[in-house]
Subunit: 432 residues, 2 copies
């Protein structure tokens, strides 16, 4: 192999950065054969050169000056694994100005500034690759942009946050309450000290924005996504889900109907027979529906040092092949439409509802009457006496408009026979 | 879009060919935006121009002369969806001679003549893409060659034959016997009138040969694969699997250890907790283990008109992008090693064994003694009296060398206390 090596600069040497260095070191000779050229790490941007590190890196590769990478004419590919939004954005834009291809694992950045970055990439005629930004090691972005690109997609549903899937698995399998499951996730390092971004659904919202943009060829940003987290799910909901034949999962969902997009993150009841229902613990999976492929699912670890590095290195190899063939920018931005985002009130769904009501004759009839007046049709009801004078009613609706359900709930909340509305959870993935 | 269109010629207008035409017609305007150039069907090779067809195709596109496609300088990409081996090989070689990129769905051809075809593609500097040859619509070849190409793979296990998965699902879920399940699969069109290629494992063998070649960067052909079908599985095996916590699946398996490959197709017991165990009916799934990504799985429909067309059209788009950028041949053959194939006697596995023996004291001790002498260590035993004087013993071994197990079975078969060896099935996917 006498061709010159492809030289990369890495911004950041945290968990993912160290993983990238390890994978390139370990599998470098095979990667060289696959690409036809050696991939050589030229510089790594760190905050503190003297810091002790677990991954062995020759000292002379480390720098604290980003321009050693961004302005270095020798460097072909910039690998951004430092996180942050503003600084990363600024560095990546500079990399494109200097005609470098860019690989990033930064979902926050892509979900927020994707448009600007893709335009800069296109202007530079270089690649912007970001497979690692969604679901870590699971190949999903390239499959959507290439393998499945002959499809018109109708739906994407993903378990794209490992922390919440771990918590929900614990609540269901080990009958834990939310707080205890969260505490255990924190103890095991699956949840951060400040878990808000995970449990409130914000992390999943960034990822579904990215997936929706690719699948529906229309830019969806973080702000476009309707979000509910899992903090209101309790053991009653888990138990009723079980009884009704469902699993409880936090899903990122994106659908297209009549040219409008419906993009959201919230807990769902999903039938146990659905492929996503069996995805447990910290695993992720993305379920895709296309008009040609039908149903397909991609499953694996959505986070972690080496799984994420796997995706980053796959992108480095792809960018290197493109440079080798003199054709970077081969697959650019594919958001050539500008589709309207449907407000949550306009979506249609089935719903699971749990209500605490007075336990006396006629109560169910009153409630059913309110739903009927709002055009909310009920598919099934379980009524259970739980304590003296009060009963819990669990309802599952047919597919109805969310606005109609909300209208009905406002009236039901005001009824004197109703103690409280325990929870309302959308039902997804069933056929009717 | 003023760039000239990319022109394709399609060899064959059977099920898959019609699907390709339908998908290109239906989603053509989006595909044009994604590629930046229109994809235009120029000619389609058929056997009988006057035949009535379900898919509407303008009469002037049809030809019975392959050279209208292979020798037509206007045509950029040849799409081979006609099947057969010799004729397809000859046409594809001619297409490369005439500097055309080739997309094929022909697993028999790739599994048998892959090497020759890749060399011809490389010589021509053109693409040979074959995503549809394994697991229909499921993206697996491009993910292995690109997204996951930073990994060193340790194992691939796939449910890659829908017919046998349907039959095994029926046997397990509906307690059917093999013959009845096969008859039902034939009635529903999941199995062919002559089902040998599916139920004997030959179809799966071709697919695992292709996957192993890609994952381990070493050419594996159909002849290298050790094959057992599912015809010997009966309801006893299914019932014992259930009792022991396993599902029965026909898997294509490829592993690398110490630089040697172990490639085989046979029924397995796989723990119910394994992701593959839940893959039911006619669905396919491919489970991959890499040193960076860890475990990943790809799930979907492995056959059918539109799922297969989805993969073919994805490849057409990829080939078109490469031509557009003036870089066909971007990812060529990656079999740069020549690894030894391990004979089946040398593999290591756990085994499930079902033996009919005399029901009297000391029998189990004798059998256990034979296994012990052959270094076969037993993990668990279930003994059941089934009729007067005869009992069924079900054993699961620890991981042992296949040669040792075969030695032991030869001796056990000759013992007067043993009625017969009911079945021997390998156990896969468990940790210990």
């Amino acid at each position: 192999m006498d061709k010159p090596s492809i030289k990369i600069g890495i911004l950041g040497l945290g968990t993912v950065g160290s993983g990238v260095v390890e994978v390139l070191n370990k599998n470098g000779s095979d990667i060289e054969k696959k690409v036809g050229r050696k991939i050589e790490i030229k510089d790594i941007l760190v905050r503190d050169i003297s810091k002790k590190r677990k991954t062995e890196v020759p000292q002379h590769l480390l720098t604290t000056n980003p321009d050693d990478i961004l302005e270095n004419p020798e460097i072909d590919i910039v690998v951004e694994v430092m996180g942050t939004i503003d600084l990363a954005r600024q560095y990546i834009l500079k990399a494109f100005e200097n005609k470098k291809s860019v690989v990033t694992a930064n979902k926050d950045l892509i979900a927020l500034h994707g448009k600007e970055l893709f335009e800069a990439a296109e202007k530079a005629g270089r690649d912007l690759l970001f497979e690692a930004s969604v679901a870590g090691g699971i190949p999903i972005i390239r499959p959507l942009k290439e393998c499945l690109s002959g499809n018109r997609f109708t739906r994407i549903m993903g378990i794209i946050n490992g922390t919440t899937n771990y918590i929900l698995t614990k609540m269901s399998r080990d009958k834990m309450e939310f707080d205890d499951a969260l505490a255990e996730a924190q103890r095991l390092g699956y949840a951060e000290a400040d878990p808000a971004s995970d449990i409130e659904g914000l992390d999943a919202a960034r990822k579904i924005a990215i997936l929706a943009s690719i699948a529906f060829n229309s830019r969806v940003t973080y702000e476009d996504v309707y979000v509910e987290g899992i903090t209101k799910i309790n053991s009653y909901d888990i138990r009723y889900a079980e009884e009704l034949g469902y699993a409880v999962k936090l899903l990122g969902i994106a659908k297209e109907a009549d040219g409008e997009l419906d993009v959201r993150v919230h807990p769902v009841f999903i039938p146990k027979s659905h492929a996503l229902a069996a995805v447990s613990d910290e695993f992720n999976a993305i379920f895709v529906e296309g008009d040609a492929v039908g149903e397909a699912m991609f499953y694996g670890k959505g986070a972690g040092k080496l799984p994420t590095a796997s995706a980053v290195v796959g992108d480095i190899i792809s960018a290197a092949r493109n440079l080798s063939f003199g054709m970077p920018g081969r697959v650019g931005c594919t958001c050539f439409y500008s589709k309207k985002i449907k407000p949550i009130q306009e979506i249609e769904s089935k719903y699971y509802l749990r209500l605490l009501v007075e336990d006396r004759p006629g109560v169910l009839a009153s409630i059913a009457g309110v739903f009927g007046n709002s055009n909310v049709s009920i598919a099934s009801v379980i009524q259970k006496r739980i304590e003296k004078d009060m009963a819990e009613i669990v309802l599952v609706t047919h597919t109805v408009k969310e606005a109609n359900l909300r209208d009905a709930l406002k009236i039901i909340e005001g009824l004197t026979i109703v103690g409280n509305i325990g929870n309302v959870i959308r039902v997804e993935g069933s056929d009717t």
